[in-house]
C-alpha cells in the first residue's frame, strides 16, 4: 500500500505540490491526468525519492514504512519502480547490464535478459549503450524492459504513450497491463490455473500512470483517475468520466465541477 498524506513539495523555494493525499491499495492502479506543468512528473519523482524534490510537509508511506526521507535506492529495494519519460543515457553501460542491475534491485532475482527483451521486441538493443541514440519508442520499451526485470510492486509510468508510434502503442499498452496484472482475460488452459475472478482478487501490483491523452486506457482498466492541477490533486473519479469532462470543458472547468 502507498499512502501519501497532506504532502507539500518544494523545488528550491518554490512550492510545486501541496495538500496531496493519495492512497493506492495493493492491486490498484490509478491514472493521473493534468495539463503540462501541473506537477505530475514531480509527484512521481517525489515518490521515487529524488532529492531535488524536497518534502516540506506531510508524509509518504509504503508497505507500512515511512519513506518520506528514504534515499532512492532503498525505495527501489522496497519495490518502487519507475518508467521515465526522458531517462538519461549512460555511455558504456549496456542495456543488458542495466537489466541485470534492475533484477538485483529487490535482492538476487535471476533473469534472462534475452527472454525478457523478446517480450518488448528489444533483443537487438541489449548490447547497445543504455538510452544512447534511442528513439522515443525505443526508450519506452527499454524502460518497460527494466521494470520487467525489477519486478517492482509499485510501478509508476510517466506518459507511457508519448512519442510511441501506432505500431508500438499496443505493445507498450499490453506490456503495462501485464506488469500490473491486468492482462486481457483469457480462457483457462488447465484446471490448475486461477479463474479470472481469482486473478482479480490476487492482484498485488500497484500502478500510477501519468497520461495526457488517456490512450493507455484502451489497453488496461484502471481503478481511479485523478486530476493534478496547479500542484493540487483535484478530483477522484471514474477515468472515463473525467476524460470526457476534460475533453468537453478543459482542465480548469473540469476541476471546478468535480471538486
Amino acid at each position: 500500500m502507498l499512502t501519501i498524506e497532506d504532502l507539500q513539495v518544494k523545488i528550491g523555494d518554490q512550492v510545486i505540490l501541496s495538500h496531496i493525499d493519495l492512497e493506492l491499495k495493493p492491486g490498484e492502479t490509478h491514472v493521473l491526468f493534468g495539463p503540462n506543468g501541473s506537477g505530475k512528473t514531480s509527484l512521481l519523482m517525489t515518490i521515487m525519492g529524488y532529492p531535488g524534490y524536497k518534502v516540506t510537509h506531510g508524509k509518504i508511506a509504503f508497505k507500512g514504512q515511512d519513506i518520506t526521507h528514504t534515499p532512492i535506492h532503498e525505495r527501489a529495494g522496497l519495490g518502487i519502480g519507475m518508467a521515465y519519460q526522458r531517462p538519461p543515457s549512460i555511455a558504456g553501460l549496456k542495456t543488458r547490464q542495466m537489466v541485470q542491475i534492475c533484477a538485483q534491485a529487490k535482492g538476487g532475482r535471476k533473469v534472462d535478459p534475452e527472454v525478457l527483451a523478446r517480450e518488448v521486441k528489444f533483443e537487438r538493443f541489449l548490447d547497445r549503450d543504455i538510452n544512447v541514440g534511442f528513439s522515443g519508442g525505443e526508450i519506452k520499451r527499454s524502460e518497460l524492459l527494466q521494470l520487467m526485470a525489477q519486478d517492482a510492486d509499485l510501478m509508476m509510468f510517466d506518459e507511457p504513450e508519448s512519442g510511441v508510434d501506432l505500431e508500438n502503442i499496443t505493445l507498450v499498452g499490453e506490456t503495462i497491463a501485464k506488469l500490473l496484472q491486468r492482462g486481457a482475460p483469457r480462457a483457462k488452459k488447465s484446471e490448475n490455473e486461477p479463474t479470472v475472478k481469482e486473478r482479480l482478487i490476487n492482484r498485488t501490483k500497484m500502478g500510477l500512470i501519468i497520461s495526457h491523452t488517456g490512450f493507455i486506457l484502451d489497453y488496461l482498466t484502471v481503478d481511479k483517475a485523478q486530476v493534478l492541477y496547479n500542484g493540487v490533486l483535484s478530483c477522484k473519479n471514474n477515468p472515463g468520466e473525467i476524460l470526457k469532462c476534460i475533453g468537453e470543458f478543459g482542465y480548469e472547468e473540469c476541476v471546478k465541477c468535480l471538486m
Binding site: M48, G49, Y50, P51, P71, I72, H73, R75, A76, G77, G81, M82, Y84, P87, P88, I90, A91, G92, L93, M98, I101, C102, Q104, A105, K106, D129, Q146, Q150
Partner: protein, 403 residues
C-alpha cells in the same frame, strides 16, 4: 647504423616539443645483466605477478610467443608459432641484414634527446614479425620490465606485419614492486603492409616516480589495419607520448584507443596523430581520461590529405576528485572533400545518471562506479575478446583507487 648513431649524436641536448624536460644525467644508463631464462616459470613470483598485471602470462597460456626484457637484459624471447618471428633487436641487427631497412626509418633518431639517448645507449628491444599471409591468432606478449632503481631503460622495437598477415601484440611495461625511481625510453616502429592487420595493446603499470618517454611511428599500406590500444591506470610521475601513424596506402585504416587515469602527482601527456595520405583511408582516435588529482593532457591530431578520407576524434574527460584534464583535439583538412569531425568533453558525472541508477537499486557509490566503468569501457571492433578482457581487467584493478 652509423648513420643512426651520428644523427642521434646531434640531438643529445635537443629538448622535446612536449612534456616536462627530464634531466637524463640523473639516471644510470649502465647495463644490468640478468640470466636468460629457459623457462618463464623460473621468474620470481613477485615479478610474475607484476607482469601478469600488465597482461603477460608466465605460463604462456593462449600466447603465440613471448619477449621479456628486464632492465637492459633480454630474459626470454621465443616464438611458439610458425609464421611468427621474435628476436631481441640487437641480435636481429647482427644476424638479419634486411633489418637495417627498417631500423630507424620511421622514428628519426634526432627527434629529441630521448630518441637520441635511446639510440646512443641502446640496451635492446624486440623485433616481432608476422610472415606473409601468416595468421597469428593468439597474441604475442611482450614485457619491458624495470627492476633496478634509478635506472634508464632504453629499447628500440620493430613490429612488422608482412602482406596479408594478422598479428596481435599485447605489451606490458611494468616495474618491480620495490622500484621507486626510473626512466623508460622506448622507440617503436610499426610496419603494416598490404592487407595486413595488427592490433597492438599496450598496458602501462609504472611506479610513482617513473618518467616515461615512448616514441613511436607506424606506416599502414594498402588495405591494412592498425589498432592501437593504450591503457595507463597506474601512477607515473611524468609520461609523454604522441604516437604517429601514416596511412600510406589506399583503404588503410588506423584506430587509436586510449584509457588514462591521472593519479595525484601524475602528469600524463598522451596523444595520437594519424595522417591520412591515401584515398579512402579511415582513422579514428578515441580517448577516455579520468583524473582523481592528476594532470592529463589528451591530444589528438588528424590530418586529411585526400578527398574522401574519413576521420573522427573523440576525447572525453571526467574529473572525479580534483586534477586537470586538458583536451586538445586538432583536425587539419588539406583537400576538398575530406570528412573529419571531433567531439571533446570534460566534465563530472551527471547527478541524474547516478539517480537513474539509484532508482534501479544501486547505492550512490555503486552507481558512480558503474558510470565510471561505462565511461572507461570502449568498444574496440576487431580486437580479440581475450585482449578486450585484459583491458577491462586492467581498468577494473584501478577502480577502487578512482573512487
Amino acid at each position: 647504423m652509423l648513420d643512426v648513431r651520428s644523427r642521434a649524436e646531434q640531438a643529445r641536448e635537443k629538448k622535446a616539443a612536449l612534456g616536462a624536460d627530464i634531466d637524463l644525467s640523473k639516471y644510470s644508463f649502465a647495463e644490468v645483466s640478468h640470466p636468460y631464462l629457459q623457462d618463464l616459470r623460473q621468474m620470481p613470483p613477485e615479478d610474475r605477478e607484476q607482469m601478469l598485471n600488465a597482461g603477460v602470462d608466465a605460463n604462456e597460456v593462449d600466447r603465440s610467443g613471448t619477449f621479456i626484457q628486464k632492465d637492459s637484459a633480454v630474459l626470454y624471447s621465443k616464438s611458439r608459432q610458425e609464421g611468427l618471428e621474435i628476436y631481441p633487436v640487437k641480435e636481429a641487427l647482427e644476424k638479419l641484414p634486411w633489418v637495417e631497412d627498417y631500423y630507424g626509418k620511421l622514428v628519426a633518431p634526432e627527434t629529441d634527446k630521448y630518441t637520441a639517448a635511446a639510440e646512443l645507449s641502446l640496451q635492446n628491444g624486440y623485433l616481432i614479425r608476422a610472415l606473409p599471409e601468416a595468421s597469428v591468432s593468439m597474441p604475442v606478449q611482450s614485457c619491458l620490465y624495470l627492476d633496478r632503481d634509478g635506472m634508464a631503460q632504453t629499447v628500440h622495437n620493430i613490429v612488422i606485419c608482412e602482406e596479408g598477415s594478422e598479428l596481435h601484440v599485447i605489451t606490458g611495461c611494468a616495474t618491480s614492486p620495490h622500484l621507486r625511481n626510473g626512466l623508460h625510453l622506448g622507440i617503436t616502429e610499426f610496419y603494416i603492409k598490404k592487407n595486413a592487420k595488427l592490433s597492438f595493446t599496450m598496458i602501462h603499470n609504472w611506479a610513482k616516480n617513473m618518467a616515461v618517454r615512448p616514441r613511436s611511428v607506424g606506416v599502414v599500406e594498402e588495405g591494412g589495419l592498425f589498432l592501437n590500444n593504450y591503457i595507463c591506470m597506474k601512477p607515473v610521475k611524468s609520461l609523454q607520448m604522441y604516437p604517429t601513424t601514416y596511412l600510406r596506402g589506399p583503404g588503410a585504416t588506423a584506430r587509436f584507443y586510449s584509457i588514462l587515469l591521472g593519479h595525484p602527482g601524475s602528469e600524463l601527456d598522451v596523444g595520437g596523430r594519424i595522417i591520412l595520405e591515401a584515398d579512402k583511408t579511415r582513422a579514428e582516435i578515441i580517448s577516455r581520461a579520468i583524473t582523481n588529482g592528476g594532470t592529463i593532457v589528451a591530444r589528438g591530431d588528424l590530418v586529411g590529405e585526400k578527398a574522401g578520407i574519413k576521420a573522427h576524434l573523440e576525447c572525453k574527460g571526467l574529473i572525479l576528485k580534483g586534477g586537470v584534464i586538458h583536451a586538445i583535439p586538432e583536425l587539419k583538412g588539406k583537400a576538398e572533400g575530406v570528412e573529419m569531425s571531433h567531439e571533446a568533453a570534460v566534465g563530472k558525472i551527471a547527478a541524474e545518471e547516478i539517480q537513474y541508477l539509484q532508482s534501479r537499486g544501486l547505492s550512490e557509490e555503486e552507481a558512480t562506479s558503474t558510470i565510471v566503468r561505462g565511461f572507461m569501457s570502449v568498444d574496440i571492433p576487431g580486437l580479440p575478446k581475450k585482449l578486450k578482457a585484459k583491458i577491462d581487467q586492467a581498468v577494473a584493478q584501478s577502480e577502487k583507487e578512482m573512487m
